[in-house]
Amino acid sequence: MKRRTFLKGTVASGMLGVAASAGLLAPRMVLAAWPESAFDAKSVDGALDALLGSVNHAESNDIKIKAPDIAENGAVVPITVSTSLAAESISVLIAKNPSPLACSFALSGSTQGFVSTRVKMGKTSELIAVVKSGGKLHSAKKTVKVTIGGCGG
């Protein structure tokens, strides 16, 4: 069964650290209102619209994405998104995945904006982090390359 993990934040020492090692699992069991249409959407805009009700997001320097420039293994790409904004949610989208929305984290007001997980990438793609804060959407992006490998050196 193809599902995406979703672990809703339990706050530990002010930091929400989430690691989903199994790749793409669905959070249906965890989240009451599972946004099925968002995770099934075939485009970034489609996913954002279904999940957050808007496709408009402004690039923000207050969001940092930590991800490899070239993935060591496209099936498990470790990423960390952190933000100084008061985040209501942090969502990660892989533009070129068949279903771009990889995960979305709902944060409580007192939670530090820091999430860490592993995502699956079929090919080289932009990775977009969208933070909902103050009712608006803010974003940052980074290209992660997926390569055949070999031939270096």
Binding site: D69, I148, G149, C151, G152, G153
Partner: protein, 574 residues
């Protein structure tokens, strides 16, 4: 023919009489001779010696530098993307001088005969001792790619090189091909051999599970009482460019943020000088130097660039010198810092070619090398055939030795197309010389040598070429892996390095017909990073092919047609 020592000295002197400043020599110095070339007066109070990417070449070698090393976007026409006469002009090196021979491919055969072989650990050892005599409290750094590249290093699991670097007195090293001996062997060497002798440094290698450092990220050495931090950076894309299964539990990457934190931590711990011992590759070093603050110098390797002067890179914290010290034991870098009141005030730098005819071999090192070779000498010296022309590898596209390997692969596997990796190591053989088994091993000595035959569609073949081309020509150095373009046999194609991935490779043709995207072709190769299946190693395929001929004539190289490159000093004709 070799020129005499006296003539050699005269040529060095002429280089200066003609008003040419030798690399690293201060402008005020007028007469230049061998003694002056190697007698660098001590300067300042913190000295660092550096060699890198020796690829286990214990013996002096011929090594032809590239005539194609294209730089695109911001890298165009900048170091290290300068070849031949463009290189000489940029660095004020006299054509036909010994330095011109060491740094460029120009007149390679003739100049090789004139100036003799370059490198060799015995000669390197002598030069290091000589330089250290004037700098008793200096530090010796090894940039990695040390344990791999020769028959003896492969057959001894890197032990010959570990012992050789201990004899040299290396204080710290980092790595890349070292990891292809497997995580267990690397750890074993560090614990059993290096402990108490040298540090193996890498701030950018962490374990997958806990994300903790696998190696020491940095070490602080007191040099003349001045705390100097050496930070290590292993090759960031080791598990991608080389087999993942060799280091399954370790994650690499550039880790720029962590680099900044490591530099800050070293400064906080009292370091007055911070030097990065890097295996990034020079383009990555240059970008890193512009973004990470607090590094006084990057002493780098991986891309095998021998650059006679440091590049001064500005960043928010000041200036970082970027140095790259060549390959194959051809060069020794000497960096002297003048440090006063806790800060670097001034520096001197020289990249010294190791002319083996000018340096007496070190006795202890010679003995070590002899002992290493003794059990294998018959295999090493087996003469397989005679080279009818210069055999070499280095350059963005097929060298003649690659072509020989491709021809051998295609014949052995009855293949339509062959691929051979774009490694930058591999020494040269002069026309008329016997090609020995050792020469073949210097092109092929890896721990995953199995030759393969697969059936791939034209579409897949194009994908592979596009993927490798992007690792070489991506406009952002952080997305490059180093290495040159995969060497291709059979298939003709054109390449436009300035285009984006998916659009660089065109005009693919096999036997005069366009490559069919849907048809499957027989593709031979070696060095698969996926798994090392049982099979015939590439050195046996190549050696057998040579044994079946008296003299080896390669003929025309199957290099692609290069498009979109004009007035690029990284590209020269022959």
């Amino acid at each position: 023919m070799n020129i005499s020592r006296r003539e050699f000295l005269q040529m060095l002197a002429v280089a200066s009489a003609a008003g040419i400043q030798l690399p690293g020599q201060a402008a005020t110095r007028k007469s230049v001779s061998e003694e002056k070339l190697y007698d660098l007066p001590a300067f300042g109070n913190v000295s660092l010696l550096h060699f890198t990417d020796c690829h286990a070449q214990l013996m002096p070698v011929w090594f032809r530098e590239p005539n194609i090393n294209i730089g695109i976007a911001g890298m165009k026409a900048n170091a290290p993307h300068l070849v031949g006469n463009h290189f000489l002009t940029r660095y004020g090196i006299n054509p036909n001088s010994p330095q011109a021979h060491a740094f460029t491919y120009l007149n390679f055969v003739e100049a090789s005969k004139k100036f003799g072989k370059i490198g060799g650990f015995s000669h390197l050892a002598t030069l290091i001792k000589h330089i250290q005599a004037q700098r008793p409290d200096s530090v010796l750094l090894d940039g990695g790619d040390t344990w791999q590249g020769s028959a003896t290093s492969l057959w001894t699991d890197g032990q010959d090189m570990v012992d050789a670097t201990k004899l040299l007195g290396v204080d710290a090293m980092t790595g890349h091909w070292e990891f292809t001996f497997g995580a267990k062997r690397v750890k074993e060497i560090i614990e059993k051999d290096l402990d108490g002798h040298m540090d193996f440094l890498a701030q950018n290698v962490i374990d997958n599970q806990w994300e903790e450092d696998v190696f020491k990220p940095y070490v602080i050495k007191e040099i003349n009482g001045i705390p100097t931090a050496i930070v290590g950076q292993a090759f960031p894309y080791t598990p991608i460019a080389n087999p993942r299964y060799m280091v399954p539990d370790w994650s690499f990457g550039i880790r720029e943020d962590k680099m900044q934190q490591t530099v800050d931590a070293a400064r906080k711990a009292g370091a007055q000088v911070v030097v990065l011992l890097s295996h990034n590759g020079m383009d990555v070093d240059l970008k890193m130097a512009s973004r990470v603050v607090g590094i006084d110098a990057i002493m780098g390797g991986h891309t095998h660039d021998a650059v006679p002067e440091p590049v001064k890179v500005k960043n928010n914290g000041g200036i970082t010198l970027v140095i790259n010290s060549g390959s194959n034991s051809k060069f020794l870098s000497v960096l002297d810092f003048d440090v006063r009141k806790g800060k670097v005030r001034d520096f001197r730098y020289s990249l010294l070619p190791i002319f083996s005819n000018l340096l007496e071999p070190d006795v202890a090192m010679s003995k070590h090398i002899e002992n290493v070779r003794k059990p294998y000498i018959e295999d090493l010296e087996e003469e397989l055939g005679i080279a009818d022309e210069l055999l070499y590898r280095r350059g963005n596209f097929n060298g003649s030795f690659d072509q020989l390997i491709l021809d051998a692969l295609m014949e052995a596997q009855d293949a339509d197309i062959a691929f051979s990796p774009g490694f930058r190591w591999g020494t040269s053989v002069l026309p008329g010389e016997p090609i020995t088994f050792e020469h073949v091993m210097s092109q092929t000595a890896i721990t995953y040598p199995t030759t393969t035959l697969s059936r791939a569609t034209g579409e897949t073949i194009k994908l592979i070429l596009e993927d490798v081309a992007d690792n070489l020509f991506n406009t952002d150095p952080y997305y490059q892996q180093g290495g040159d373009m995969v060497r291709v046999g059979g298939l003709k194609y054109s390449i436009d390095p300035t285009k984006k991935i998916g659009y660089r490779i065109t005009d693919m043709e096999l036997n005069g017909k366009p490559l069919d995207p849907n048809k499957k072709y027989r593709v031979a190769g070696w060095a698969s990073v996926k798994s090392n299946k049982e099979g015939i190693p590439i050195w046996d395929v190549t050696a057998d092919y040579i044994r079946n001929q008296d003299t080896v004539k390669v003929g025309k190289l199957n290099t692609p047609k290069i498009k979109g490159i004009k007035d690029n000093p990284g590209l020269a004709g022959l």
